[in-house]
Symmetry: D2
């Protein structure tokens, strides 16, 4: 997978460290708001919580002894703060309070970028849907040409999937990312009666939700986020795969437009669909990452013996994979070159067979659906075997000729006349998209 | 995994067949409502769509030739209907319309039972939380005793997770399960202008949502359902694992209450926690099943070449696994026997060490947190190494004795006095549960 | 997924029941061989162990109370045996001994069928490789035409992957499928000193390996089997995906040959690649199933609290998925129709561009690789933009014309002359296959 | 997950870069051995292939344009080599040749460290098995005490699993890690007749196997490696989970021995089992990673459009997770403190009930197994309900008393007399381990 997009920076070791520092700073300010420490001490703590002031490697090394990076981090912050404020660093918190809160901040910040790229990709799909409402192409089922459709409807379907992915991710970000503060046993025992006030202020400082109870071992927030990211990956992979297939040498209906990208090291003539391939590569990693997150969601008692620690790496990788995929897809769709002539040429390749269903339907009114099916199948077989245009093969069947004139057949074999309500569906989709984006 | 609960019947081959028949019947009625066939023909189709009238084995056998069970099924229905109505069976639909709609019906019906059991489990957890608000027990982190807590808070945390799982599943059921009707290319081409009216009536007949556009290759509905089931599995697994751990011979704080269950084939004295173990077994299958669903979510063009077919088995198994787990957990929690004396006895096993944090906090005001930590660590070490009661070890440290009297120490070592806001958290949780259930 | 092949019967509930009965019968005979019961009693037990004599539904129902189906099964066998022999049923065994041994039997029997189909598929690929050693076609990278190759080399690569999958599965079947007999604690305590003799005879009766120690909670046998099945799925999916892609309407290089299969319910002219699509659908389920098996491989103490029970369903489904995929693929390859003319026509579609690398190589000797790359890239660009034959575009570059004559260019653009050692690779592959199969 | 062990360095970006450089250097030397370039040019290339000479960030940045890091890398090497040798850099290779070969080198080097730690862990388990052959403890099934066993047998079972994991990983490393060299289409077209000689020399230079045919889209080598790593994870997780469970406050039978590790940030008295918890955390990530690798194993045509690129990240993470888990487990087992007295005390907790099976067996000879089961169950129930010692409860049953004297009962309730062939199993296991290690 080739990582891409701003999300890379948001899941780095440095970003995680900053998020833990933000949590410690917010905890100090929450204490101040609840009156349990002075505003000056809170600000002293906050001032010390700058990522550049800490030795990430040393903290990582010492994390192994403690089983968590927070133990050495708290030591380092305390040393950095000095004075009376030093005694208030991390007050009332347990390591998991800080790590979980940091995970929520990392997720929230990453989701910001992911949503921007997903919305950009959805807008680009919408623009394609709008521009190509009347662009005829073959609909393909099981990779076989089936019936005519429009590129507009295809792009509108991409857009609807992306819009839905955005809606879910936004819902999770706004409703489910919560601060964590419970102390060692989830009772806030060391904070006494001010516990709830500090919890409330802590969440507020960070722009996260306040939970009803500490969620040290209720991981539904984490699994809901993971599920939403998994859903997004599917919505991203769909258009990416379609682009790869449409860009095949033998199909040639689209081409990735980024100048200078996709050259091959040994094949100078190729223009590889790098963005869609890279999006697909990122997407392919996601089901396994989601399963890792789900497998880590059953936590023992008041703090898990392994499952909690197992979340960190796949969570970062999941945000990175979906974020990269979103960035690649947006790039792909915003610069997609569409070859309408190739679409039309491919549509004509079956010599009219692609409209067999329409003939069947026209005949069915007279002879019944199954009989119509059989008649058309016979004509289709001749078309394939004798390389006959489908119109002629149809006209050669007496039972068909009785019912359909040559002009009827010609009209029925015009793909532009057999698009059903494709246009109406595009209209519905664009309207829904406009609502979602406003 | 031992399957359990009504969901077993809802994901059986027979239930899938019934759901496809329900879809075909609803399609006929939708045509009648749109005026494209007569009400009599619609009822003739509906009358034929009874599961007992069909040979499931034969349909399964013929499915292999067609690549879908719908082709032989439509043939069989058409034969069963007879007369003029026969020509209207399946009119305008493609195989995937019927299978996808059936999948939604199977999911909707299964979710009904799953929700009932999950709500039952959450209610049972709520009853435990309420009954045991003051029942002292050890909070355990990394399976080591950490601090006192209450069984009420533990049960309340179970409940909150289960409530959240219910909320998500309900949301998916009500908002995201949609009818599918697009015809071969997703354009409803063979239905002409009445297409949208038929789609709308079709969804209405089945009690499913009407989609904006056909979702043949936009699988976000399926992945969102899968993600919600994955989230539910974690919420179920959490209390199940806690029960298994609390039921250990050496812990003995709870016992599964179902009479006559859990006997061992060779060990007559054992009472195995069968329900929680079975819930865990079912839960353990879920991450892999969700990853199968997600891996199948990138569909080619207008109908996938394999990914669509790949959804059926894991979807059934996912509903079955979560449904069984929910049924087992409800059973477990509704009959759970709690041994308050064992909880209290275990809490006393560390000779008071479990309250070390409280002593640290009390000292920290005077000497600073890190110094307090070191002092208490020294006393703790003596307690462990010399098998000294913690109170004596504390009193033996001059720097502690200066600051805390024997009475202070005794008071500080009473676990009932160091529960923080456990009770308030239980209160908040029960209030939220009451709201969620009303 | 559409199940296919004999493996379906080998993973059915009935097959599992038969396997547990076979284990109980073998246990009786092993006792007789070790002298701990009489041969007559052993035969009485064996006679009772016929699957038709038992009520599968009742056993399934009672399994829920005991947490395992073996408890009610042993009761039923004991009742069926009667007389003195009844007291020796299941002697010395624990439920897991029987279930684990049955799992090994189910796996062993299923692997027999899977190997037959995989070998058949590999043979079919070998026949294609042999027949099409000289059949020219386009090699495609990232679904873009890259260079000429032969269909023979493509099929040989399929074959090598399938051969390797067979080798691994055969290795696991012959070396790693072992009997399980340890009694309740893995010590064979209730058998006294004869334990090892009975264990040895038990394995011998069943044609399974004798383990060094009971493997109740050492699941490497199960995970090794799962890994080998996962590997096989990839080897099956590769040719299936290639067939689906080659069968696309716009590519048309192969066609599935099974008569009467692949008709569409609404599109009478289509011939869907049902076998390869079905193989892909089955394959797509496998990574999730393997992850379920791996996630269940960490077992507590002397018998797991959930992980063991979690193995049964995914194990059956994994064998079924790989077995179905193997059967579908064999079917696909044995009847594959290859259109050599279409392959050749597609190869000519780029107007010669596909041989750009060869021109680059020819020029590189003179001008260096990077300069040659740039020259050829320029000519390629003109070919694409101006729809010029590549030969002309090359000749139009002065720096190329200086070095290559028109005849040189014509010769260099003949794909048959730029196949490298494709033929030698096919030869190596066929030789390795012949060795593997002998 | 907390990464640990030397494997961290072997999967870093820098290690991957070094491996690609090693592949390019070996390619140059292979050309020289085949006579297609001069030894001087080969050495000029090799001299340039030092990791410190390249700008990793720039290569990473440019990788995004090309879709692979090899395109910019080859440019950079070519620039670094200069002179006539520059024209021979990367000759005949495609990007995937270098990346796949690098992946094999990364895997091979990582496996070296993983095997060292796994063997160390197996040796440590062997030492425990040997030292504790007679150490009595409770066997636990479903976390309930079941029968007596020895800690020696438990440790021997750990060892056997680890030995098997080593055997598989060694087999994969030695037999399946192969060089990749096929050129753009897998035909070695640009190398002419010397292709096979260069391939052979290339593999030899790197200490990797020579493949029969290029394996660009036959990923069985990768999936076999992944499966073996998945198996290893289970073998590592098993003892880690047992240690966590045995270290519980209420069980207290083992304790991790690393001095100064495992302190809690707020609970000074705790000694967390950091190594086993960290091993478990690493193990928990593995099933998802293996499923990602398997899901990426179906590659299109001659180079995959996404699946190939999808392998890199999970492969590194998989090696890292298993390597970290192995390092943590070795650390855990080499320093494990075993409390034999606690084991014995726990064994006595059920008042003798744990030997119920033995009583049942003793009675069964007289009264039949089912009747014996019922009698013992009755006595067991009284023991539990009336807090009676099991010996007394047994003696109080007239049907038992008739058959067993008080002395019989006392002898039968001595756990040391009911260990079956635990010792013989340990002996067998240690013998197998000694063979495996020699």
């Amino acid at each position: 997978m080739l990582a891409r997009g701003a999300v890379r920076l948001e899941v780095s070791d440095r970003a995680w460290l900053q998020a833990t520092l933000d949590a410690e700073a917010a905890l100090g300010r929450a204490h101040a708001r609840a009156g349990s420490i002075s505003p000056e001490d809170a600000e002293a703590i906050a001032r010390a919580c700058r990522v550049d002031a800490f030795d990430m490697e040393a903290i990582g090394r010492d994390a192994a002894s403690a089983g968590t990076p927070i133990v050495p981090l708290v030591g380092a912050i305390t040393a950095a703060v000095g004075g009376t404020a030093a005694g208030h660093v991390h007050a009332g918190a347990t390591s998991q309070d800080i790590m979980d809160t940091a995970a929520m901040l990392v997720a929230s910040r990453s989701l910001g970028y992911i949503l921007t790229d997903l919305e950009g990709a959805a807008d680009a799909a919408g623009a394609l849907a709008s521009r190509h409402r009347s662009t005829l192409m073959a609909a393909r089922t099981l990779l076989q040409q089936a019936l005519p459709t429009t590129f507009g409807l295809k792009a509108a379907t991409w857009m609807i999937g992306l819009d839905q992915a955005c809606a879910r991710l936004r819902g999770v970000r706004d409703e489910r990312l919560a601060a964590q503060l419970g102390g060692a046993a989830g009772t806030l025992a060391s904070l006494g009666e001010t516990g709830p006030a500090i919890l409330s202020a802590f969440a507020d400082e960070l722009g996260l939700r306040e939970p009803i109870v500490p969620w040290h071992t209720d991981r539904t927030r984490i699994t809901e986020l993971s599920g939403a990211l998994g859903e997004a990956a599917g919505a991203i992979g769909k258009p990416a795969l379609d682009v790869v297939l449409l860009a095949q040498t033998e199909v040639g209906e689209v081409r990735e437009g980024a100048p200078g990208r996709g050259g091959s090291s040994t094949l100078p003539h190729k223009r590889n669909p790098v963005a869609s391939v890279s999006a697909l590569a990122a997407v392919r990693d996601v089901p396994g990452l989601v399963s890792s997150m789900l497998a880590a969601s059953v936590h023992e008692h008041e703090r898990a013996a392994g499952s909690w620690h197992a979340e960190w790496r796949p969570l970062s990788n999941l945000l990175l994979a979906v974020g990269s995929a979103a960035a690649w897809l947006r790039d792909c769709l915003e610069q997609l070159e569409v070859d309408e002539q190739a679409m039309r040429a491919n549509l004509d390749r079956t010599g009219g067979l692609i409209l067999a269903e329409r003939i069947t339907t026209a005949l069915a009114a007279d002879v019944g659906r199954l009989a119509a099916h059989d008649l058309v199948e016979r004509a289709s077989a001749r078309t394939v075997e004798e390389h006959l245009p489908f119109g002629e093969a149809l006209a050669a069947e007496p039972e068909i000729r009785e019912r359909l004139s040559a002009a009827d057949i010609e009209r029925l074999l015009d793909p532009a006349g057999y698009l059903g309500v494709a246009d109406e569906f595009v209209e519905r989709a664009l309207r829904a998209h406009a609502e979602a984006r406003s």
